[in-house]
Symmetry: D3
Subunit: 274 residues, 6 copies
Amino acid sequence: MFHHSSKLQYQVRVDTPDPQFAKYLQQAIGGIEGEIRVAMQYFFQAMGARGDAKYRDLLMMTATEELSHIEFLGHAVALNLEGAPVTAQEEAAKDPIIHAIMGGANPRHILSSGLSAMPVNANGVPFDMSHVYASGNLAADMMANVTAESTGRVLASRLYNMTEDSGMRDMLSFLIARDTMHQQQWLAVIEELGGMEANFPIPNATPPEHEATEHSYYFLNTSLDEPTPQGRWMHGPSFDGRSEFSARDKPEPLGQKPDLGKARPHSGAQKQQM
Amino acid sequence: MFHHSSKLQYQVRVDTPDPQFAKYLQQAIGGIEGEIRVAMQYFFQAMGARGDAKYRDLLMMTATEELSHIEFLGHAVALNLEGAPVTAQEEAAKDPIIHAIMGGANPRHILSSGLSAMPVNANGVPFDMSHVYASGNLAADMMANVTAESTGRVLASRLYNMTEDSGMRDMLSFLIARDTMHQQQWLAVIEELGGMEANFPIPNATPPEHEATEHSYYFLNTSLDEPTPQGRWMHGPSFDGRSEFSARDKPEPLGQKPDLGKARPHSGAQKQQM
Amino acid sequence: MFHHSSKLQYQVRVDTPDPQFAKYLQQAIGGIEGEIRVAMQYFFQAMGARGDAKYRDLLMMTATEELSHIEFLGHAVALNLEGAPVTAQEEAAKDPIIHAIMGGANPRHILSSGLSAMPVNANGVPFDMSHVYASGNLAADMMANVTAESTGRVLASRLYNMTEDSGMRDMLSFLIARDTMHQQQWLAVIEELGGMEANFPIPNATPPEHEATEHSYYFLNTSLDEPTPQGRWMHGPSFDGRSEFSARDKPEPLGQKPDLGKARPHSGAQKQQM
Amino acid sequence: MFHHSSKLQYQVRVDTPDPQFAKYLQQAIGGIEGEIRVAMQYFFQAMGARGDAKYRDLLMMTATEELSHIEFLGHAVALNLEGAPVTAQEEAAKDPIIHAIMGGANPRHILSSGLSAMPVNANGVPFDMSHVYASGNLAADMMANVTAESTGRVLASRLYNMTEDSGMRDMLSFLIARDTMHQQQWLAVIEELGGMEANFPIPNATPPEHEATEHSYYFLNTSLDEPTPQGRWMHGPSFDGRSEFSARDKPEPLGQKPDLGKARPHSGAQKQQM
Amino acid sequence: MFHHSSKLQYQVRVDTPDPQFAKYLQQAIGGIEGEIRVAMQYFFQAMGARGDAKYRDLLMMTATEELSHIEFLGHAVALNLEGAPVTAQEEAAKDPIIHAIMGGANPRHILSSGLSAMPVNANGVPFDMSHVYASGNLAADMMANVTAESTGRVLASRLYNMTEDSGMRDMLSFLIARDTMHQQQWLAVIEELGGMEANFPIPNATPPEHEATEHSYYFLNTSLDEPTPQGRWMHGPSFDGRSEFSARDKPEPLGQKPDLGKARPHSGAQKQQM
Amino acid sequence: MFHHSSKLQYQVRVDTPDPQFAKYLQQAIGGIEGEIRVAMQYFFQAMGARGDAKYRDLLMMTATEELSHIEFLGHAVALNLEGAPVTAQEEAAKDPIIHAIMGGANPRHILSSGLSAMPVNANGVPFDMSHVYASGNLAADMMANVTAESTGRVLASRLYNMTEDSGMRDMLSFLIARDTMHQQQWLAVIEELGGMEANFPIPNATPPEHEATEHSYYFLNTSLDEPTPQGRWMHGPSFDGRSEFSARDKPEPLGQKPDLGKARPHSGAQKQQM
């Protein structure tokens, strides 16, 4: 069960409201790299967690933190929209510089939300929940979570670079820090589960007889004119300790030329296909 | 530039066509765990690759392989739809067992595609390209790729379990094998780039002064009644070699109570808000 | 800031797991009538609330409750999936009755989530955040909230009727009750703001000179062969106390015949259009 | 059956074409507050109407009016795009002011539609029909309709404020007026059906024994540090005449701690979860 | 401006209600081959029509007819849902055959719409307006319209085959007939505009100097092992009367090997990319 | 099976990088008129092709070419983003002209992709695979392909007009040329199949007794005040050689007034509907 306390997890201060930056910040709320995504991803992973209950708890605790991130980012968006012109009569609207800035703003911040945050990204595209990765496989989910926190930290760093507002920079430096920890903690789960070798290939419970293992450890070079790039992926032991890497250049197809024959009557095809 | 040869990368054989399994297989084509996703993800990562060109080549070569996976899976879907009743007059349609099976099939395999594969998932929801993760950060992209191959192998293993058709099992055992290699090869890129410690936190180029590092290494326990779960996430050195993990129970908010004040005139609000 | 406690807001008990009912329950999680929608809708309304802070608090408190509803519904979905066959070899999978039931289940509950809840509706379509209505106008938002709770209670009642499981019926009777209160509380906000007459038309701050009031109180009968239906909408005082209702039959167009003239050169049109 | 006459329902005049305003106007066509939505919503409600046929007629008549609103708004968009530069060689394109204005325009108005309206919102996101709320419950649908007309009138008022073009203001003043009437007429249906008390809680046909009525009339304060806001929602008779409001502070969970146990073999989980 | 008359364009009769067929019929309403799509496509094309006004009229008249098709199809869906079990207590729900049939039905026909049509396809995926093709180029739009009516007639034919209900077959035979005419009438527009040779390539107003015409008339055989298929596409005059067809086997790339160099500082990339 | 060679199909040169043009170019990659769409459309049509194998080959060969178009367009986007400011500190970012230009850029080109192409359109909306038209009917698919190449060439021509960069114009002139050929080659398939008369109405295999042919050849004028526009659609032989065109003015409805009667108990409706 969830509870709420009235203060924000972190202080939000905007020295110079900037409607264009409000649009950019939306990526951190409703973008695929954003906070709705991680909040919901950890929440659904927690609800489906099977196995040692401590992983469920870890996921739910961090889902809860991410909800608080949405909250302070939402406040930051609203503060950046303070003073944005809402009528064509305002002085601001007649200032060509502000007019140009508003051309780069999200018009729905005025038209649809009344100067508030929305669950959309920096292009105004609503977040959709297909991005909630929760597979029922703990290791796969951890990799998905490290990924989400990595793209999240990339985004927060880029947003930090795009503003000179000291309040916004302070808030973003907190987000960057939390994303560091969240990357680390999901990696720590992998270590706790025995590390890379014990967990890969994911899922590690697939019986070997379900796998055509003769195809499991070679890199397939599908290029007609490039040699296989040199690197760990083509020699040395595999990271799951089961085999050695190799490479195959210009591979031959192993299958047939596909042929579905003629179309059946009454299948909606043209006569010429029958 | 792309080229094509006429045979499939791998042999596809269906002993007993099963329209319901055709629906399930769609998840491996147009699902978020499927082949369109990885083909396009690696392709867009390759097109945006900066730095050592060998990573670009690696990505493009594997993108090309994934296109071939779409191709043989598409053939497998069509073969599973062979003989599915397309009219209410057919004997098959009047057989209650086949009728029940068709209730579990995707009706658009008959109505929209004429007994062929579609770029949709097992619920008939079309794939959308927002799932192509290509961040411009090589390490983040590698984590995204390991994730994609992990959920892909989880899916292929589940599909393997859901069929008894030996042709389908053979094809899926090949997919399981290739997913093993693809997990491994993206991990190999991380190793080639210096391993976990050299790459985390992602992005590793974010200047420390952009990060509130006092918040970077503690686990935040947001539960009111549960202790912090014990594990590597709360003690010991962090995996980036920069600090030590710790934990904070029942944290106090660090921010203000948000207050946006009154609504502005002409902002579309009610009088009572002004 | 959000917090969590480890127990569910309400007891979840499933006497007879039913994978088909698990699919139906998804509508209450990820459907437009469901709990993700109201949780996020109240959350975003709260973040954008301007005016008397008590409405912000009301919204945030109920957003928090709705998060807890997602949580117990998610558990209910997982419990309904207990024992669903995950391999073709299981006895259950070979039982024609269970086979038929599984035809009516969501295959992604097996293929994608590993027997857990997903943020999708009963057709497997992911929830998308465009359904979060948060306009910045308090009265409009309250009407949106009454609507959401009304369709939510309609859905919960239908789900109640579709099951005979006493555990599920108990849980749904709680949801039905809470939806009753939530309908009532949002209506209470309207009353607190002065009632219907004080709030309509929404927004009540639109200056009368921005409105062609001669068109504001007649019902337009666009039918060629039906009289205007008799009712309060065509006579008597309007509910905002500003006018009297009337009706117009077979109205004449007030505008011109549209004509955009010829296409411009270089606009991508055919020569014949120029 | 539908028919058409060649003139617009209302006169459309644009004194000074403004491609940026064309982009804003799209919200009134293809936004969730726009005319496609209400046209389709009333149409589908009418097609599913059961009970007294007059409500069906009312819905169909107004659906038909809304189609006419799409039509004149579409014309307004096209007129605002008159003269927008379609080549980089035009004088207009070289004027820095016009260049800046075009930066705020929707490029697809040039690239995709050839200077015409599109069924998209002000961010260029296509309307999707999931926003057509038609529940089969007449009262729930009326609340949805009041909501749609309320957000519609909020939007029209904001658009009115964002332009100084007298033609556009005239057209928008007509839209504002019709939204007033449409709010009123759907409220009138509720009155005709017996008013609030007779209709709430929606659905009013849910048997009381399907509802845990001990949970139906208290406000749940989920905040850890805020008192329940004072207002009609916590005292006095409920609006359905069935009970009295009360409030619960810092509620205790009523449910269990969820526990799904171990993952099943062959379910795609990691060994460590089993 | 639109008008409505109370009777359906065509008689709808359902002898034996079939909830599964109701699901299939949805494809003709909310599928990409369905009636919402053509109604809206012709409507938006009409609103953007430039050039001879008769094409605008043609489009608007047929858009209006398609709205009437939605209407009778919507009625057909509702009639097919008559008697579908809405409670688990009904006799019908306990009949294993009806239970199996309902497994193949759309549960949202009960849960969300109360036994009525929805603007979704046969998988329950809502129609989205990105499928409204209206390019501002009359010939391109005509080809889009022929396509829409072709897939529409394919769909109607498949639906006809999938039912034995004489009422449904009668209604579908009318749809099949109207789709025939609509294919023909859009082809007639092309003829009226001067026929294929006068209109192709589309757009025919693109100046030849904007086209690398040396690449305009050869078929590119990208296969490594297949000869170019023999046919009109590789020899004889082109259909626009401008050139002769030819073919190129195993073409050489004309471009460079792409290389974006190193990543820039502060761009969110890893250090190793810089 | 697919293969790749390392050079681009066509040379890409950008003389003056332009982030706004990068945004526009996205329409040619991820727009409905773009290259992902045709690549995937031809690919899925090929995978479902039944009948003479040469059509399958034709489709697959051109699908492969379109993949190469995505590749060079992706490179063009990245080159146009060279030098775009990624921090607020850069000189460029402080230049008001560049600031204004960036207001018209896609912020996700900086925030999400790190200065690279994305699978989105010019509004930043991701491509979704519902636009892959592959019906199983060869003639319908050919019309869909002619349509796609027509809107594609319209788009390429508009993009050509929107830039003065000679490198971009050179690349677009190649695209315009290839779209010419692709329009032609799909028309050539129709000719190869016997031409218009042999193929229409599509599908040509629908038995005449499934069609209410008395409704197949008249144009329906649904306007109340406009005469039927004069043209080939209302007189002369139909293009399938089966009949003569005619027209019907102000048609009478052929169907009943719809009436669904009262709502059923337990169906979630209001009491007043029962």
